[in-house]
Symmetry: C2
Subunit: 303 residues, 2 copies
Amino acid sequence: MTKESIVQAFMQLQDDICQALEMADGQGRFQEDAWERPGGGGGRSRVIRGAAIEKGGVNFSEVHGDLSTAAAKALKLGEGGAFFATGVSIVLHPKNPWVPIIHMNVRYFEMDQDRWWFGGGIDLTPHYVFPEDAQWFHQQLATVCDAAHSDYYDRFKKWADDYFFIRHRDETRGVGGIFFDRLGPQESLPKEELWKFTLNVGQTFAPTYTELLKRHRDDSYSDLEMDWQRLRRGRYVEFNLVWDRGTKFGLETNGRTESILMSLPPLAGWEYSHAPTANSREEHTLALLKKDIDWLSNPPKSY
Amino acid sequence: MTKESIVQAFMQLQDDICQALEMADGQGRFQEDAWERPGGGGGRSRVIRGAAIEKGGVNFSEVHGDLSTAAAKALKLGEGGAFFATGVSIVLHPKNPWVPIIHMNVRYFEMDQDRWWFGGGIDLTPHYVFPEDAQWFHQQLATVCDAAHSDYYDRFKKWADDYFFIRHRDETRGVGGIFFDRLGPQESLPKEELWKFTLNVGQTFAPTYTELLKRHRDDSYSDLEMDWQRLRRGRYVEFNLVWDRGTKFGLETNGRTESILMSLPPLAGWEYSHAPTANSREEHTLALLKKDIDWLSNPPKSY
Protein backbone atom coordinates (compact mmCIF):
# COMPACT_ATOMS: atom_id res chain seq x y z
CA MET A 1 0.00 0.00 0.00
CA THR A 2 1.03 3.60 -0.59
CA LYS A 3 0.99 6.55 1.79
CA GLU A 4 -1.88 7.92 -0.24
CA SER A 5 -3.97 4.78 0.20
CA ILE A 6 -3.38 4.88 3.96
CA VAL A 7 -4.48 8.51 4.07
CA GLN A 8 -7.61 7.68 2.11
CA ALA A 9 -8.44 4.75 4.37
CA PHE A 10 -7.96 6.84 7.52
CA MET A 11 -10.18 9.60 6.17
CA GLN A 12 -12.82 7.00 5.36
CA LEU A 13 -12.40 5.55 8.84
CA GLN A 14 -13.02 8.97 10.36
CA ASP A 15 -16.14 9.40 8.23
CA ASP A 16 -17.47 5.95 9.15
CA ILE A 17 -16.86 6.41 12.85
CA CYS A 18 -18.46 9.85 12.92
CA GLN A 19 -21.50 8.52 11.14
CA ALA A 20 -21.83 5.55 13.50
CA LEU A 21 -21.45 7.79 16.55
CA GLU A 22 -24.03 10.28 15.33
CA MET A 23 -26.47 7.42 14.76
CA ALA A 24 -25.78 6.03 18.21
CA ASP A 25 -26.01 9.40 19.91
CA GLY A 26 -29.26 10.18 18.12
CA GLN A 27 -29.00 13.92 18.59
CA GLY A 28 -25.50 15.41 18.33
CA ARG A 29 -23.82 16.24 15.04
CA PHE A 30 -20.08 16.54 14.49
CA GLN A 31 -18.74 19.98 13.69
CA GLU A 32 -15.65 19.92 11.50
CA ASP A 33 -12.70 22.23 11.84
CA ALA A 34 -10.26 21.82 8.96
CA TRP A 35 -6.76 23.11 9.62
CA GLU A 36 -3.41 23.37 7.93
CA ARG A 37 -0.03 22.85 9.48
CA PRO A 38 2.45 25.62 8.63
CA GLY A 39 5.26 23.07 8.07
CA GLY A 40 3.14 20.85 5.77
CA GLY A 41 -0.10 18.92 5.85
CA GLY A 42 -3.11 19.48 8.08
CA GLY A 43 -6.15 17.80 9.49
CA ARG A 44 -9.87 17.59 10.10
CA SER A 45 -10.83 17.93 13.76
CA ARG A 46 -14.40 16.92 14.46
CA VAL A 47 -16.20 17.48 17.73
CA ILE A 48 -19.60 16.45 18.98
CA ARG A 49 -21.67 17.59 21.93
CA GLY A 50 -24.59 15.23 21.95
CA ALA A 51 -27.25 13.63 24.09
CA ALA A 52 -25.25 10.57 25.14
CA ILE A 53 -21.77 11.77 24.20
CA GLU A 54 -21.24 14.87 26.32
CA LYS A 55 -18.01 15.77 24.53
CA GLY A 56 -16.26 13.79 21.85
CA GLY A 57 -13.47 14.41 19.38
CA VAL A 58 -12.62 12.39 16.27
CA ASN A 59 -9.48 13.76 14.70
CA PHE A 60 -7.79 12.96 11.40
CA SER A 61 -4.41 14.39 10.48
CA GLU A 62 -1.76 14.00 7.83
CA VAL A 63 1.42 15.94 8.36
CA HIS A 64 4.75 15.97 6.62
CA GLY A 65 7.92 17.98 6.54
CA ASP A 66 11.57 17.75 7.42
CA LEU A 67 12.88 16.21 10.61
CA SER A 68 16.20 17.66 11.73
CA THR A 69 18.90 15.15 12.64
CA ALA A 70 18.66 16.42 16.24
CA ALA A 71 14.92 15.70 16.37
CA ALA A 72 15.41 12.37 14.59
CA LYS A 73 18.08 11.35 17.11
CA ALA A 74 15.82 12.33 20.01
CA LEU A 75 13.25 9.94 18.53
CA LYS A 76 15.96 7.28 18.06
CA LEU A 77 15.57 7.46 14.31
CA GLY A 78 19.16 8.05 13.22
CA GLU A 79 19.68 10.66 10.51
CA GLY A 80 17.08 13.34 9.83
CA GLY A 81 15.15 13.71 6.59
CA ALA A 82 11.66 14.03 5.16
CA PHE A 83 8.90 12.50 7.29
CA PHE A 84 5.25 11.71 6.84
CA ALA A 85 2.70 10.88 9.55
CA THR A 86 -1.01 10.26 9.45
CA GLY A 87 -3.60 8.96 11.89
CA VAL A 88 -7.02 9.01 13.44
CA SER A 89 -7.47 9.66 17.13
CA ILE A 90 -10.55 9.69 19.31
CA VAL A 91 -11.62 10.40 22.86
CA LEU A 92 -15.27 10.29 23.93
CA HIS A 93 -16.60 11.53 27.28
CA PRO A 94 -20.12 10.22 27.82
CA LYS A 95 -22.73 12.10 29.79
CA ASN A 96 -23.92 9.11 31.82
CA PRO A 97 -21.39 8.12 34.51
CA TRP A 98 -22.21 4.42 34.03
CA VAL A 99 -20.93 4.63 30.45
CA PRO A 100 -17.12 4.45 30.09
CA ILE A 101 -14.77 6.98 28.55
CA ILE A 102 -12.98 5.56 25.51
CA HIS A 103 -9.86 6.35 23.53
CA MET A 104 -8.72 5.03 20.16
CA ASN A 105 -5.77 5.90 17.99
CA VAL A 106 -4.33 4.44 14.79
CA ARG A 107 -1.33 5.94 13.06
CA TYR A 108 1.32 5.47 10.40
CA PHE A 109 4.76 7.06 10.26
CA GLU A 110 7.26 6.94 7.44
CA MET A 111 10.64 8.38 6.64
CA ASP A 112 11.98 6.02 4.00
CA GLN A 113 12.08 2.36 2.91
CA ASP A 114 13.54 1.17 6.20
CA ARG A 115 12.00 3.65 8.60
CA TRP A 116 8.25 3.29 8.82
CA TRP A 117 5.84 1.92 11.36
CA PHE A 118 2.27 1.54 12.51
CA GLY A 119 1.00 2.30 15.98
CA GLY A 120 -2.27 2.56 17.82
CA GLY A 121 -4.59 1.10 20.37
CA ILE A 122 -7.93 1.25 22.12
CA ASP A 123 -8.38 1.56 25.85
CA LEU A 124 -11.44 1.88 28.05
CA THR A 125 -11.80 4.06 31.15
CA PRO A 126 -14.99 3.25 33.01
CA HIS A 127 -16.02 5.63 35.77
CA TYR A 128 -17.44 2.44 37.29
CA VAL A 129 -15.79 -0.84 36.34
CA PHE A 130 -18.18 -3.63 35.34
CA PRO A 131 -16.09 -6.79 34.95
CA GLU A 132 -18.54 -8.28 32.45
CA ASP A 133 -18.24 -5.20 30.22
CA ALA A 134 -14.48 -5.18 30.55
CA GLN A 135 -14.36 -8.85 29.58
CA TRP A 136 -16.57 -8.29 26.55
CA PHE A 137 -14.44 -5.29 25.54
CA HIS A 138 -11.25 -7.33 25.75
CA GLN A 139 -12.89 -10.10 23.73
CA GLN A 140 -13.48 -7.68 20.86
CA LEU A 141 -9.84 -6.66 20.95
CA ALA A 142 -8.62 -10.25 21.21
CA THR A 143 -10.63 -11.14 18.11
CA VAL A 144 -8.94 -8.40 16.08
CA CYS A 145 -5.52 -9.31 17.44
CA ASP A 146 -5.90 -13.06 16.91
CA ALA A 147 -6.80 -12.51 13.26
CA ALA A 148 -3.38 -10.96 12.77
CA HIS A 149 -1.01 -12.87 15.05
CA SER A 150 -1.47 -15.27 17.95
CA ASP A 151 0.91 -13.26 20.17
CA TYR A 152 -0.61 -9.86 19.57
CA TYR A 153 -3.35 -9.79 22.17
CA ASP A 154 -1.08 -10.77 25.08
CA ARG A 155 1.70 -8.54 23.88
CA PHE A 156 -0.42 -5.45 23.24
CA LYS A 157 -2.66 -5.95 26.28
CA LYS A 158 0.42 -5.85 28.51
CA TRP A 159 1.72 -2.84 26.61
CA ALA A 160 -1.56 -1.03 27.34
CA ASP A 161 -1.35 -1.90 31.05
CA ASP A 162 2.12 -0.41 31.17
CA TYR A 163 1.32 2.61 29.03
CA PHE A 164 -2.01 3.72 30.48
CA PHE A 165 -0.69 3.85 34.01
CA ILE A 166 -0.95 6.87 36.30
CA ARG A 167 2.29 6.43 38.20
CA HIS A 168 1.73 9.16 40.77
CA ARG A 169 -1.62 7.54 41.72
CA ASP A 170 -0.44 3.93 41.39
CA GLU A 171 -3.60 3.35 39.32
CA THR A 172 -4.23 2.24 35.78
CA ARG A 173 -6.26 4.77 33.79
CA GLY A 174 -9.03 2.22 33.37
CA VAL A 175 -9.36 -1.42 32.37
CA GLY A 176 -6.75 -1.11 29.65
CA GLY A 177 -7.11 -2.56 26.20
CA ILE A 178 -4.37 -2.79 23.61
CA PHE A 179 -1.50 -0.48 22.74
CA PHE A 180 1.20 -0.92 20.12
CA ASP A 181 3.85 1.32 18.65
CA ARG A 182 6.62 1.21 16.05
CA LEU A 183 5.43 -1.96 14.37
CA GLY A 184 7.89 -1.74 11.50
CA PRO A 185 10.25 -3.81 9.36
CA GLN A 186 11.54 -5.77 12.37
CA GLU A 187 8.13 -7.40 12.91
CA SER A 188 7.44 -10.93 11.69
CA LEU A 189 4.35 -9.84 9.75
CA PRO A 190 4.80 -8.17 6.37
CA LYS A 191 3.89 -4.50 6.03
CA GLU A 192 0.61 -5.26 4.30
CA GLU A 193 -0.51 -7.42 7.23
CA LEU A 194 0.51 -4.81 9.78
CA TRP A 195 -1.56 -2.27 7.91
CA LYS A 196 -4.54 -4.58 7.74
CA PHE A 197 -4.29 -5.17 11.48
CA THR A 198 -4.04 -1.46 12.25
CA LEU A 199 -7.03 -0.62 10.11
CA ASN A 200 -9.01 -3.46 11.73
CA VAL A 201 -8.32 -1.95 15.13
CA GLY A 202 -9.77 1.31 13.88
CA GLN A 203 -12.79 -0.41 12.40
CA THR A 204 -13.60 -2.32 15.56
CA PHE A 205 -13.92 0.91 17.51
CA ALA A 206 -17.44 2.02 16.52
CA PRO A 207 -19.29 -1.29 17.02
CA THR A 208 -17.48 -1.83 20.32
CA TYR A 209 -18.24 1.55 21.80
CA THR A 210 -21.80 1.83 20.56
CA GLU A 211 -22.54 -1.51 22.26
CA LEU A 212 -21.17 -0.25 25.59
CA LEU A 213 -23.10 2.99 25.16
CA LYS A 214 -26.30 1.05 24.55
CA ARG A 215 -25.76 -1.07 27.65
CA HIS A 216 -25.65 1.86 30.06
CA ARG A 217 -26.85 5.09 28.50
CA ASP A 218 -30.28 4.80 30.09
CA ASP A 219 -29.11 3.70 33.55
CA SER A 220 -30.26 6.24 36.10
CA TYR A 221 -27.77 8.15 38.21
CA SER A 222 -27.66 10.78 40.93
CA ASP A 223 -25.32 13.51 42.14
CA LEU A 224 -23.15 10.87 43.83
CA GLU A 225 -22.29 9.25 40.50
CA MET A 226 -21.83 12.61 38.79
CA ASP A 227 -19.40 13.74 41.47
CA TRP A 228 -17.46 10.51 41.06
CA GLN A 229 -17.46 10.91 37.29
CA ARG A 230 -15.86 14.34 37.69
CA LEU A 231 -13.14 12.94 39.95
CA ARG A 232 -12.42 10.10 37.49
CA ARG A 233 -12.29 12.64 34.69
CA GLY A 234 -9.77 14.53 36.80
CA ARG A 235 -7.58 11.44 36.76
CA TYR A 236 -7.98 11.28 32.99
CA VAL A 237 -6.68 14.84 32.78
CA GLU A 238 -3.75 13.93 35.02
CA PHE A 239 -2.78 10.99 32.83
CA ASN A 240 -3.03 12.93 29.61
CA LEU A 241 -1.16 16.01 30.76
CA VAL A 242 1.48 14.35 32.95
CA TRP A 243 2.21 10.95 31.38
CA ASP A 244 0.82 10.61 27.86
CA ARG A 245 3.83 10.77 25.56
CA GLY A 246 1.76 11.81 22.55
CA THR A 247 0.21 14.75 24.38
CA LYS A 248 3.49 15.88 25.90
CA PHE A 249 5.33 15.58 22.60
CA GLY A 250 2.61 17.53 20.82
CA LEU A 251 2.50 20.35 23.35
CA GLU A 252 6.28 20.64 23.60
CA THR A 253 6.83 20.68 19.85
CA ASN A 254 4.29 23.34 19.04
CA GLY A 255 1.57 20.96 17.80
CA ARG A 256 -2.01 22.12 17.28
CA THR A 257 -3.11 22.64 20.88
CA GLU A 258 -6.87 22.49 20.34
CA SER A 259 -6.62 19.17 18.49
CA ILE A 260 -4.25 17.68 21.07
CA LEU A 261 -6.41 18.75 24.00
CA MET A 262 -9.71 17.60 22.46
CA SER A 263 -9.16 14.63 24.76
CA LEU A 264 -9.87 16.68 27.89
CA PRO A 265 -13.30 16.34 29.53
CA PRO A 266 -15.97 19.05 29.46
CA LEU A 267 -15.91 19.19 33.27
CA ALA A 268 -13.53 17.61 35.78
CA GLY A 269 -13.01 17.86 39.51
CA TRP A 270 -10.42 17.44 42.22
CA GLU A 271 -10.94 16.90 45.91
CA TYR A 272 -8.15 16.63 48.48
CA SER A 273 -7.55 13.01 49.54
CA HIS A 274 -10.95 11.80 48.40
CA ALA A 275 -11.67 8.32 49.73
CA PRO A 276 -14.74 6.35 48.67
CA THR A 277 -17.11 4.83 51.22
CA ALA A 278 -16.26 1.28 52.32
CA ASN A 279 -17.81 -1.38 50.07
CA SER A 280 -19.20 1.21 47.69
CA ARG A 281 -19.16 0.81 43.93
CA GLU A 282 -16.56 3.56 43.89
CA GLU A 283 -14.29 1.55 46.16
CA HIS A 284 -14.81 -1.59 44.08
CA THR A 285 -13.80 0.36 41.00
CA LEU A 286 -10.61 1.67 42.57
CA ALA A 287 -9.65 -1.87 43.58
CA LEU A 288 -9.87 -2.93 39.93
CA LEU A 289 -7.64 -0.19 38.52
CA LYS A 290 -4.59 -2.45 38.53
CA LYS A 291 -2.20 -3.88 35.97
CA ASP A 292 -2.17 -7.52 34.95
CA ILE A 293 -5.82 -8.35 35.49
CA ASP A 294 -6.75 -11.14 33.10
CA TRP A 295 -9.99 -9.58 31.88
CA LEU A 296 -10.35 -12.07 29.07
CA SER A 297 -10.01 -15.45 30.76
CA ASN A 298 -10.21 -14.82 34.45
CA PRO A 299 -12.07 -11.58 35.14
CA PRO A 300 -12.75 -10.51 38.73
CA LYS A 301 -16.22 -11.23 40.08
CA SER A 302 -18.95 -8.74 39.34
CA TYR A 303 -20.25 -6.80 42.32
CA MET B 1 19.90 31.64 61.14
CA THR B 2 19.74 27.88 61.55
CA LYS B 3 17.68 25.32 59.65
CA GLU B 4 15.63 24.90 62.80
CA SER B 5 14.79 28.59 63.03
CA ILE B 6 13.68 28.60 59.39
CA VAL B 7 11.45 25.60 60.02
CA GLN B 8 9.94 27.32 63.04
CA ALA B 9 9.31 30.52 61.12
CA PHE B 10 7.67 28.64 58.23
CA MET B 11 5.40 26.74 60.60
CA GLN B 12 4.45 30.01 62.23
CA LEU B 13 3.83 31.52 58.80
CA GLN B 14 1.51 28.64 57.94
CA ASP B 15 -0.37 29.18 61.20
CA ASP B 16 -0.68 32.92 60.68
CA ILE B 17 -1.87 32.58 57.09
CA CYS B 18 -4.44 29.93 57.96
CA GLN B 19 -5.79 32.09 60.75
CA ALA B 20 -6.01 35.16 58.51
CA LEU B 21 -7.74 33.20 55.77
CA GLU B 22 -10.25 31.67 58.15
CA MET B 23 -11.08 35.13 59.46
CA ALA B 24 -11.46 36.48 55.94
CA ASP B 25 -13.54 33.54 54.75
CA GLY B 26 -15.79 33.80 57.78
CA GLN B 27 -17.06 30.24 57.55
CA GLY B 28 -14.53 27.62 56.43
CA ARG B 29 -12.05 26.00 58.79
CA PHE B 30 -8.77 24.39 57.76
CA GLN B 31 -8.51 20.63 58.17
CA GLU B 32 -5.00 19.43 58.86
CA ASP B 33 -3.48 16.27 57.49
CA ALA B 34 -0.08 15.58 59.05
CA TRP B 35 2.12 13.20 57.08
CA GLU B 36 5.54 11.65 57.25
CA ARG B 37 7.93 11.08 54.40
CA PRO B 38 9.40 7.57 54.34
CA GLY B 39 12.86 8.91 53.46
CA GLY B 40 12.83 11.53 56.26
CA GLY B 41 10.74 14.49 57.40
CA GLY B 42 7.10 15.20 56.69
CA GLY B 43 4.54 17.94 56.54
CA ARG B 44 1.25 19.49 57.53
CA SER B 45 -1.20 19.80 54.64
CA ARG B 46 -4.14 22.04 55.43
CA VAL B 47 -7.20 22.40 53.26
CA ILE B 48 -10.22 24.66 53.48
CA ARG B 49 -13.59 24.56 51.74
CA GLY B 50 -15.22 27.76 52.78
CA ALA B 51 -17.78 30.35 51.83
CA ALA B 52 -15.49 32.61 49.81
CA ILE B 53 -12.58 30.20 49.30
CA GLU B 54 -14.10 27.31 47.39
CA LYS B 55 -10.96 25.18 47.73
CA GLY B 56 -7.69 26.21 49.28
CA GLY B 57 -4.53 24.47 50.40
CA VAL B 58 -1.82 25.80 52.70
CA ASN B 59 0.99 23.31 52.91
CA PHE B 60 4.06 23.19 55.12
CA SER B 61 6.78 20.60 54.66
CA GLU B 62 10.26 19.84 55.94
CA VAL B 63 12.01 16.97 54.26
CA HIS B 64 15.53 15.62 54.45
CA GLY B 65 17.51 12.61 53.35
CA ASP B 66 20.28 11.64 51.01
CA LEU B 67 20.59 12.88 47.48
CA SER B 68 22.40 10.46 45.17
CA THR B 69 25.14 11.92 43.02
CA ALA B 70 23.01 11.11 39.96
CA ALA B 71 20.09 13.10 41.36
CA ALA B 72 22.39 15.90 42.50
CA LYS B 73 23.96 16.12 39.04
CA ALA B 74 20.52 16.21 37.42
CA LEU B 75 19.79 19.23 39.64
CA LYS B 76 23.19 20.73 38.72
CA LEU B 77 24.37 20.41 42.29
CA GLY B 78 27.63 18.50 41.85
CA GLU B 79 28.28 15.66 44.26
CA GLY B 80 25.45 14.02 46.20
CA GLY B 81 25.03 14.09 49.96
CA ALA B 82 22.60 14.88 52.74
CA PHE B 83 19.95 17.46 51.83
CA PHE B 84 17.34 19.43 53.70
CA ALA B 85 14.35 21.31 52.24
CA THR B 86 11.49 23.20 53.83
CA GLY B 87 8.76 25.50 52.61
CA VAL B 88 5.23 26.77 52.65
CA SER B 89 3.10 26.64 49.54
CA ILE B 90 -0.41 27.84 48.87
CA VAL B 91 -3.03 27.85 46.15
CA LEU B 92 -6.51 29.30 46.69
CA HIS B 93 -9.45 28.88 44.33
CA PRO B 94 -12.19 31.36 45.21
CA LYS B 95 -15.84 30.69 44.65
CA ASN B 96 -16.66 34.03 43.10
CA PRO B 97 -15.29 34.29 39.53
CA TRP B 98 -14.51 38.01 40.00
CA VAL B 99 -12.01 37.07 42.73
CA PRO B 100 -8.60 35.90 41.45
CA ILE B 101 -6.86 32.58 42.06
CA ILE B 102 -3.60 33.06 43.95
CA HIS B 103 -0.43 31.06 44.49
CA MET B 104 2.39 31.62 46.97
CA ASN B 105 5.47 29.61 47.78
CA VAL B 106 8.52 30.22 49.95
CA ARG B 107 11.23 27.63 50.37
CA TYR B 108 14.73 26.94 51.64
CA PHE B 109 17.11 24.23 50.44
CA GLU B 110 20.44 23.24 51.96
CA MET B 111 23.11 20.64 51.37
CA ASP B 112 26.16 22.16 53.00
CA GLN B 113 27.96 25.46 53.67
CA ASP B 114 28.23 26.32 50.00
CA ARG B 115 25.09 24.75 48.65
CA TRP B 116 21.97 26.43 50.00
CA TRP B 117 19.37 28.76 48.61
CA PHE B 118 16.01 30.43 49.03
CA GLY B 119 13.24 30.44 46.48
CA GLY B 120 9.64 31.48 46.20
CA GLY B 121 7.13 33.86 44.74
CA ILE B 122 3.56 35.03 44.57
CA ASP B 123 1.52 35.21 41.40
CA LEU B 124 -2.07 36.15 40.71
CA THR B 125 -4.43 34.49 38.23
CA PRO B 126 -7.61 36.51 37.82
CA HIS B 127 -10.45 34.87 35.94
CA TYR B 128 -11.17 38.45 34.91
CA VAL B 129 -8.25 40.86 34.81
CA PHE B 130 -8.86 44.22 36.51
CA PRO B 131 -5.85 46.40 35.74
CA GLU B 132 -6.35 48.45 38.92
CA ASP B 133 -6.23 45.30 41.05
CA ALA B 134 -3.20 43.98 39.17
CA GLN B 135 -1.45 47.29 39.71
CA TRP B 136 -2.21 47.29 43.42
CA PHE B 137 -1.06 43.68 43.68
CA HIS B 138 2.26 44.49 42.00
CA GLN B 139 2.68 47.50 44.30
CA GLN B 140 2.54 45.21 47.32
CA LEU B 141 5.21 42.99 45.81
CA ALA B 142 7.36 45.93 44.78
CA THR B 143 7.27 47.21 48.36
CA VAL B 144 8.59 43.91 49.70
CA CYS B 145 11.22 43.66 46.96
CA ASP B 146 12.42 47.26 47.32
CA ALA B 147 13.00 46.77 51.04
CA ALA B 148 15.55 44.09 50.16
CA HIS B 149 17.24 45.24 46.97
CA SER B 150 16.48 47.87 44.34
CA ASP B 151 16.84 45.35 41.51
CA TYR B 152 14.63 42.66 42.94
CA TYR B 153 11.22 43.75 41.76
CA ASP B 154 12.25 44.09 38.10
CA ARG B 155 14.31 40.95 38.17
CA PHE B 156 11.72 38.77 39.88
CA LYS B 157 8.74 40.25 38.03
CA LYS B 158 10.37 39.28 34.74
CA TRP B 159 11.19 35.85 36.15
CA ALA B 160 7.52 35.35 37.01
CA ASP B 161 6.44 36.40 33.50
CA ASP B 162 8.78 33.80 32.04
CA TYR B 163 7.95 31.09 34.53
CA PHE B 164 4.16 31.34 34.72
CA PHE B 165 3.77 31.05 30.97
CA ILE B 166 1.53 28.49 29.25
CA ARG B 167 3.61 27.93 26.15
CA HIS B 168 1.12 25.77 24.25
CA ARG B 169 -1.52 28.52 24.67
CA ASP B 170 0.85 31.46 24.21
CA GLU B 171 -0.73 32.94 27.35
CA THR B 172 0.61 33.92 30.72
CA ARG B 173 -1.13 32.10 33.57
CA GLY B 174 -2.39 35.41 34.94
CA VAL B 175 -0.99 38.86 35.68
CA GLY B 176 2.23 37.42 37.06
CA GLY B 177 3.86 38.64 40.24
CA ILE B 178 7.33 37.69 41.43
CA PHE B 179 9.29 34.46 41.18
CA PHE B 180 12.81 33.71 42.40
CA ASP B 181 14.87 30.58 42.79
CA ARG B 182 18.31 29.52 43.99
CA LEU B 183 19.11 32.76 45.76
CA GLY B 184 22.31 31.45 47.33
CA PRO B 185 25.91 32.39 48.12
CA GLN B 186 26.41 34.01 44.70
CA GLU B 187 23.88 36.76 45.51
CA SER B 188 25.04 40.21 46.61
CA LEU B 189 22.89 40.11 49.76
CA PRO B 190 24.09 38.11 52.77
CA LYS B 191 22.19 35.00 53.74
CA GLU B 192 20.44 36.73 56.62
CA GLU B 193 19.02 39.35 54.27
CA LEU B 194 17.89 36.75 51.73
CA TRP B 195 16.06 34.96 54.49
CA LYS B 196 14.43 38.15 55.71
CA PHE B 197 13.28 38.91 52.17
CA THR B 198 11.87 35.41 51.66
CA LEU B 199 9.96 35.51 54.92
CA ASN B 200 8.63 38.97 54.06
CA VAL B 201 7.25 37.59 50.80
CA GLY B 202 5.42 34.97 52.81
CA GLN B 203 4.11 37.51 55.27
CA THR B 204 2.79 39.81 52.60
CA PHE B 205 0.57 37.05 51.21
CA ALA B 206 -2.33 37.17 53.66
CA PRO B 207 -2.97 40.93 53.74
CA THR B 208 -2.63 41.09 49.96
CA TYR B 209 -5.07 38.30 49.19
CA THR B 210 -7.62 39.20 51.82
CA GLU B 211 -7.80 42.70 50.33
CA LEU B 212 -8.49 41.32 46.84
CA LEU B 213 -11.04 38.94 48.28
CA LYS B 214 -12.79 41.82 50.04
CA ARG B 215 -12.91 43.86 46.86
CA HIS B 216 -14.84 41.28 44.85
CA ARG B 217 -16.32 38.56 46.99
CA ASP B 218 -19.76 40.14 46.98
CA ASP B 219 -19.84 41.03 43.28
CA SER B 220 -22.76 39.26 41.64
CA TYR B 221 -22.21 36.79 38.84
CA SER B 222 -24.16 34.52 36.53
CA ASP B 223 -23.64 31.24 34.65
CA LEU B 224 -21.62 33.08 32.03
CA GLU B 225 -18.96 34.04 34.55
CA MET B 226 -19.02 30.61 36.16
CA ASP B 227 -18.48 28.91 32.80
CA TRP B 228 -15.56 31.22 32.11
CA GLN B 229 -14.14 30.55 35.57
CA ARG B 230 -14.14 26.82 34.80
CA LEU B 231 -12.32 27.36 31.52
CA ARG B 232 -9.72 29.56 33.21
CA ARG B 233 -9.30 26.92 35.90
CA GLY B 234 -8.74 24.43 33.08
CA ARG B 235 -5.81 26.56 31.95
CA TYR B 236 -4.52 26.56 35.53
CA VAL B 237 -4.58 22.77 35.45
CA GLU B 238 -2.74 22.77 32.13
CA PHE B 239 0.01 24.99 33.47
CA ASN B 240 0.48 23.02 36.65
CA LEU B 241 0.49 19.58 35.06
CA VAL B 242 2.38 20.40 31.86
CA TRP B 243 4.83 23.18 32.70
CA ASP B 244 5.24 23.71 36.43
CA ARG B 245 8.67 22.33 37.28
CA GLY B 246 7.84 21.82 40.94
CA THR B 247 4.74 19.77 40.17
CA LYS B 248 6.47 17.69 37.51
CA PHE B 249 9.49 17.06 39.70
CA GLY B 250 7.28 16.05 42.61
CA LEU B 251 5.14 13.66 40.58
CA GLU B 252 8.09 12.09 38.81
CA THR B 253 10.11 11.56 41.98
CA ASN B 254 7.39 9.91 43.99
CA GLY B 255 6.47 12.97 46.05
CA ARG B 256 3.28 13.11 48.10
CA THR B 257 0.68 13.31 45.34
CA GLU B 258 -2.20 14.71 47.37
CA SER B 259 -0.07 17.57 48.69
CA ILE B 260 1.37 18.34 45.27
CA LEU B 261 -2.04 18.32 43.58
CA MET B 262 -3.76 20.40 46.26
CA SER B 263 -3.24 23.19 43.72
CA LEU B 264 -5.86 21.78 41.35
CA PRO B 265 -9.30 23.41 41.26
CA PRO B 266 -12.46 21.81 42.66
CA LEU B 267 -14.05 21.95 39.21
CA ALA B 268 -12.55 22.80 35.81
CA GLY B 269 -13.75 22.68 32.24
CA TRP B 270 -12.56 22.38 28.68
CA GLU B 271 -14.34 23.37 25.51
CA TYR B 272 -12.98 22.84 21.99
CA SER B 273 -11.67 26.10 20.48
CA HIS B 274 -13.60 28.34 22.84
CA ALA B 275 -13.56 31.95 21.68
CA PRO B 276 -15.02 34.78 23.77
CA THR B 277 -17.52 37.22 22.31
CA ALA B 278 -16.03 40.32 20.70
CA ASN B 279 -15.46 43.16 23.18
CA SER B 280 -16.55 41.06 26.11
CA ARG B 281 -14.82 41.11 29.49
CA GLU B 282 -13.56 37.63 28.64
CA GLU B 283 -11.91 38.88 25.48
CA HIS B 284 -10.40 41.84 27.33
CA THR B 285 -8.95 39.43 29.86
CA LEU B 286 -7.35 37.23 27.21
CA ALA B 287 -5.76 40.27 25.62
CA LEU B 288 -4.05 41.05 28.95
CA LEU B 289 -2.53 37.60 29.49
CA LYS B 290 0.81 38.66 28.04
CA LYS B 291 4.38 38.93 29.24
CA ASP B 292 6.11 42.25 29.87
CA ILE B 293 3.10 44.33 30.84
CA ASP B 294 4.28 47.08 33.18
CA TRP B 295 1.53 46.64 35.74
CA LEU B 296 3.28 48.85 38.25
CA SER B 297 4.03 52.03 36.33
CA ASN B 298 2.08 51.83 33.11
CA PRO B 299 -0.89 49.51 33.52
CA PRO B 300 -3.31 49.03 30.64
CA LYS B 301 -6.55 51.00 30.81
CA SER B 302 -9.41 49.58 32.81
CA TYR B 303 -12.39 48.48 30.79
